[in-house]
Amino acid sequence: MDYSPLWLSLKVALLATIFTFILGILAAWLTVKLKRGKGIVDGLFTLPLVLPPTIVGFFLLVIFGKNSFIGEFLSEIGAPVVFTWVGAVIASTVVAFPLMYRTARGAFEQLDENLLSAGRTLGMKERTLFLKIMLPNSIPSIMAGAVLAFARALGEFGATIMLAGNIPGRTQTVSVAIYTAVQAGNWDLAYRWMFIIVVISFVTILAMNAWTRYAARFRRESKRLWR
């Protein structure tokens, strides 16, 4: 059995999770701070969640394709995106982004407003507030968002096949490989992939839950605060 789709899937999902993690949190922070146009910005950031993945893939194909300025530039410097594994990373990142963004935003909005006000009256800058108070106190929700983003990235199919294609050994991820196996009538292979993916997803979620419990110890304890 050729395990290359598995390694590719893991690589793509991990990279996509890292990118959405950073981008999603930053986007959430900026949106929370916005005074005007919150609805529109939120709509744009959430769009990839609502749109069919094939449409997201088509959009990305238009943006990164040979006929666009970006696509032309990228292929000129020798780093084309279409039909490469980088394309798969981009597709997964875009599709998983809203999950990270929305959970992070929810976490920031649920933070005790007094903590931020206290920080400001103590002379803390907005950036310090974000790094030292907002982020550490939102860790449980943020990690939950990261798990969702990872799961979504691992299972990405529609946008990936549009942008990265289905080239065995180069851009074929597990979800695409299962599709190909079923198409070819190779049920045995499909079963194996299914089993592997179920195990990986389950273990990931268990590990994240354990870690979140550990990271959230002060939040959990503070609910029992004696007043």
């Binding site: 903590l115 009256t121 803390m124 030292k132 004696w226």
Partner: protein, 348 residues
């Protein structure tokens, strides 16, 4: 003047209009819940922005709607003690205190000093959830004072605490006041706290600050109905003037004599529950005949609800007296309550 505030802010149907000045003293803002006390503090701290007005602290303009000045909260140097203390749950005691220390100072030294000043030795590495309520408040105070504020604002620091802890924290605040050189604003709805901790009192009602009173005046001569209610006056009747020294209390259906001259626009008359005297002649001046309807035993006193005989069905006078005195009286069914002419509270 160390602090001068004159601001207005609209929030829906609520209209905040705060105006007061304070020197290097402890000024209390006394008012019922939801009257805009906390909002006033938040405007001073820069957490909320007023619609218009001006805030000045120690000669620095913090906010001026006309000159478009709005100094950000982190540069205002106003210490704000939140009701729930707002300690950062992810930081230890030492880290919490370190948050407010400016870069130009030796952090380790300042932390050390504050830890010992607030009796937090040995707790430096603890997280807020590992502290008792009293320790949490001390950490919050230490954190604020480490940021060297020019003004200290306390937002209902004792509400939702049991009375023993409350008293300990109150002593803590008194200690802070002795060492803190700037002005202090203390927000509360509790008249006793206010009386113990403050020199002057600004009464706030429906988002508007009333007169700023010296604390002794609050209890002897409250000038508006809301001040009288906040100061704990239990017996209040509508009233109008009948002569220079007499007025007619409508609810009690009785003409009363006052030693003070009655203002033309008097609208209410009040009388404190502890100050009644007992009379044996119904005809003598300022005596109201009542029948006892309910006797309630308090911890150290007796509260008598006495129905006014010559008035409507639901008009009661509240009379409070010591348990011994009530027993000596023989727990009577009727009372002739005398309102001494020098104890009447006249309100506009």
């Amino acid at each position: 003047m160390a602090l001068s505030v004159n601001i207005e802010k609209r929030m829906g149907s609520f209209h905040l209009k705060s105006e007061f000045e304070s020197g290097n003293e402890t000024l209390a803002i006394l008012g019922a819940s939801g009257c805009g006390k906390s909002m006033t503090l938040k405007c001073i701290a820069g957490i909320e922005t007023p619609d218009k007005g001006r805030i000045e602290l120690d000669g620095h303009v913090l906010f001026d709607s006309e000159k478009k000045i709005n100094v950000p909260a982190r540069l205002r140097r106003t210490g704000y003690l939140f009701q729930d203390y707002a300690l950062f749950p992810n930081m230890t005691v030492a880290q919490n205190i370190a948050c407010g220390i400016s870069k130009s100072r030796d952090k380790v030294e300042v932390i050390k000093e504050k830890i010992s000043a607030f009796y937090l030795n040995g707790l430096e590495k603890r997280y807020p959830y590992q502290l008792s309520g009293g320790q949490q408040q001390r950490v919050a105070l230490a954190r604020i004072l480490a940021s060297e504020p020019l003004l200290l604002m306390l937002d209902e620091p004792f509400s939702a605490l049991d009375s023993f802890l409350k008293w300990q924290l109150e002593l803590e605040i008194i200690k802070v006041r002795e060492t803190f050189s700037g002005s202090m604003l203390f927000v509360s709805h509790n008249r006793d706290e206010v009386y113990r901790l403050c020199d002057r009192i600004a009464v706030m009602e429906d988002g508007k600050t009333q007169e700023v009173l010296c604390k002794r005046d609050l209890y002897t001569k409250p000038q508006s109905l809301s001040t009288a209610l906040l100061s704990g006056c239990k017996n209040i009747s509508k009233a109008y003037k009948t002569a220079e020294h007499t007025l007619f209390a409508q609810d009690w259906n009785k003409e009363l004599i006052s030693t003070k001259s009655v203002p033309d626009d008097v609208r209410y008359v009040g009388f404190r529950a502890h100050f009644f005297e007992l009379s044996d002649k119904e005809e003598s001046e300022n005596v109201i005949a009542c029948s006892v309807t309910r006797v309630i035993e308090d911890m150290f006193s007796i509260i008598v609800m006495a129905k006014v005989n010559n008035a409507g069905d639901e008009v009661f006078l509240r009379y409070e007296l010591g348990k011994d005195k009530w027993r000596l009286l023989g727990e009577p069914k009727t009372l002739l309550l005398k309102l001494p002419a020098d104890q009447l509270i006249l309100m506009r």
